[in-house]
């Protein structure tokens, strides 16, 4: 295998058929892999008539041409589907070891179609690809399933859903290697709707590279830069992502109590500094990763990975909770039940506000960390109020006549940034193709950390160009598929050289950025075909009309309209946000209509 394995594995759960066929290499070169290739295949396979939780939806697990090559962070993979939470194109992205192992089975992509009549699992081993009865696994948690199926990080890797996915909770994640997550947008619910419990992979094929000398040289240069950067060699290994709690709080952009305010009085108690002092056991790396940003933590009641910044915020400031132990154990529970921590926390925060306002009758209140485990479990098993929360914050709030209290875009819950303190982040969230998502081109770098250089977080004019560049870059990284933290130390040009070395196909940094732009426009066309319009490129009323009440971002709302106009122009879209024929032709997307 040199870059791409060149093969697709296609499994139909309705009739049990398992086939493989060559990967369309022209598409692979245009869309690279991972998110890009997944979106392109989804365009062909899942049209607007398909309901996300119907057998006609598909799951497309995709690696990239660098996966399993041994290049830094070449462990990641994606799943693409139509989201049951948003109805948009969806890809979710995970690390760990499963992606590397799947590539070693000799395939780039696994497509799962249809629906099994009874719970099954798929096992892919050398010389054997089989669907097996999974009745004895159905109902088990993620950890129980992973152990029962013989997880071994470097030899046999388990990807599965927990009870949340089985119950088709719209916030359900797919988990791999125990505690890694394909989290956002509900892919676990799609897998559950297919009665597919797990996919186990054991591979025996090694990646080779076309130009070994170039590969070694670029790896050497990248390693130097990763070691030289204090971000990747000190900050992330020592403190992980949770260090961002105090940073974002300090500038008044840490969403607190369902985005009522931007500073949390308990921030230091849930900070990365406090985690390092109290619950941290060690850090840990995914396969082929030199950064080691993962936290391994321990409380009196358990040990596990995390929490990350987003999770700490979602169960912390978002819910008014300053109990780091409660937050950490909520994180462990979400991992074991198979739930997206961000959407779960924000949905609970929404319920807390509705409860405090008397719109719903519930014990939930901001600050009541002791209730977290029960409500998370109720969501996973669709019990009581949990059955409503399982629909996500927007549908839940809408049921009670108060959709404006759902902090979401396109029904995907917000991550841990109040855009009233970061205007560019607001534009990013409003225009993200999978709903409110910071991983589509996080403006934390330019607007707060000065990466690559600082821009005024309150400025609106000119912000669109920065957002577009970041979105395209994120699409590149998601399609290769490597980790965005490496991108903090090395530019796209390095990835281009690696790809050239591995595959023998010449790429430049500009080629990759064009591919990223292509992916972004394809996703946009997908959503337009689904019926999304300019009207969906918006933010909750709270952020557009309620000035931040206090703190360093006091008085600000998001001035979205002028940024959006500028954004459409930068993108080469018309005033309704539709890519023009000229833009589509430039990107080779004439067939995408």
């Amino acid at each position: 295998m040199e870059g791409w394995a060149g093969k697709v594995l296609d499994v139909n759960l309705s009739d049990g058929s398992i086939t493989s066929y060559p990967l369309d290499m022209e598409l692979a070169h245009q869309f690279i892999g991972g998110r890009g290739l997944g979106a392109r295949m989804l365009w062909d396979l899942v049209g607007p008539e398909v309901e996300p939780l119907s057998p006609e939806n598909v799951l497309i697990f995709a690696t990239g041409p660098l996966t399993a090559s041994g290049a830094q962070t070449s462990n990641r993979f994606t799943v693409s589907t139509k989201s049951p939470l948003t109805g948009t194109v969806l890809d979710a992205n995970s690390g760990g070891w499963w992606g590397m192992q799947f590539k070693r089975t000799g395939f780039d992509v696994l497509i799962v179609r249809g629906k099994s009549a009874a719970p099954v699992m798929l096992e892919i081993k050398p010389g054997s690809i089989t669907l097996k009865d999974a009745a004895n696994l159905w109902g088990k948690t993620v950890s129980e399933t992973t152990e029962a199926l013989g997880q071994n990080n470097n030899r046999r890797n388990v990807l599965c859903i927990g009870p949340a996915g089985e119950n088709q909770v719209r916030l359900a994640s797919i988990m791999n290697d125990g505690e890694r997550a394909l989290a956002r947008g509900g892919p676990g619910a799609v897998m559950g709707s297919k009665n597919l419990k797990a996919i186990v992979v054991e591979g025996d094929q090694k990646m080779t590279v076309v130009d070994q000398e170039l590969f070694k040289f670029v790896m050497y240069e990248m390693t130097k830069r990763i070691k030289a950067s204090p971000l990747t060699s000190q900050a992330l290994p020592e403190f992980g992502t949770v260090i961002m709690v105090n940073v974002v709080n300090e500038i008044g952009a840490l969403p607190t109590r369902n985005f009522r305010t931007g500073q949390f009085e308990g921030a230091d108690l849930i900070s990365g500094e406090h985690l390092a002092e109290t619950l941290m056991v060690k850090n840990q790396a995914c396969w082929a990763c030199p950064i080691s940003c993962t936290r391994i933590t321990r409380t009196e009641n358990g040990e596990g990975e995390g929490p990350e910044y987003e999770t700490t915020w979602a169960f912390g400031a978002e819910c008014g909770i300053d109990d780091l132990v409660a937050i950490t154990e909520a994180n462990y529970l979400c991992n074991d039940l198979g739930l997206d921590t961000i959407s779960t926390g924000v949905t609970i925060g929404c319920a807390m506000e509705l409860s405090e306002l008397g719109i719903i009758n519930s014990e939930l209140r901001f600050g009541r960390g002791e209730l977290l485990k029960d409500v998370i479990t109720d969501i996973a098993y669709r019990r009581g109020l949990g059955s409503e929360l399982a629909e996500g914050s927007y549908r839940f709030a809408e049921m009670h006549g108060a959709p404006e209290y759902s902090m979401s875009v396109k029904k995907m819950e917000f991550p841990a940034y109040d855009p009233r303190g970061m205007q560019g982040q607001g534009l990013l969230f409003a225009t993200s193709n999978r709903g409110a998502c910071h991983m589509r081109g996080n403006m934390l770098g330019p607007e707060v950390l000065g990466l690559p250089r600082l821009v005024d977080r309150f400025a609106t004019q000119g912000k669109a160009g920065v957002v577009v560049t970041h979105q395209n870059s994120a699409a590149v990284v998601d399609s290769l598929v490597v980790c965005k933290f490496v991108n903090m130390a090395v530019a796209e040009e390095f990835f281009a050289r690696l790809l050239t070395a591995v595959s023998g196909v010449t790429y430049t940094g500009d080629d990759l950025m064009e591919a990223g732009e292509r992916v972004y426009n394809l996703e946009r066309m997908y959503n337009l075909r689904e019926g999304f319009t300019r009207a969906d490129d918006t933010l909750p009323r709270r952020l557009l009309e309620e000035p931040m009440p206090a703190g360093p971002s006091a008085g600000w709302v998001v001035k979205l309209e002028p940024m959006l106009k500028e954004y459409y122009q930068f993108r080469g879209w018309d005033k309704n946000g539709v890519p023009t024929p000229v833009t589509l032709k430039k990107l080779g997307l004439e067939a995408i209509r």
Binding site: M244, L444, L454
Partner: protein, 88 residues
């Protein structure tokens, strides 16, 4: 007196999460801090300049967008110093 808030590994070097330090500008405040603590000085400055990725934020606003190290300070200002940090 302005209050300095330390984050990340600067807390270990400062042996505190916050300290009141005299200074009428960011520069004079940091000069005084570094005079008191060489380890902090080495972490924050190189060749008389702020190290790459070190950020200084006064009352929630990055001084790079104000008057840099010459940003004036008032009595109850809060000066946050962040070492190189990454995340998302």
């Amino acid at each position: 007196m302005p209050l300095i808030k330390f984050f990340g590994n600067l807390r270990q070097l400062a042996q505190a999460s916050r300290l009141p330090v005299k200074g009428s500008s960011v520069r004079s405040l940091l000069d005084e801090l570094c005079r008191q603590n060489q380890a902090l000085s080495d972490a924050i400055f190189i060749d008389g300049q702020l190290r790459q990725h070190v950020r200084v934020v006064v009352n929630g606003h990055d001084v790079a967008l104000e008057q840099g190290l010459d940003t004036p300070l008032e009595e109850n200002d809060q000066v946050a110093i962040f070492p190189p940090l990454g995340g998302g």
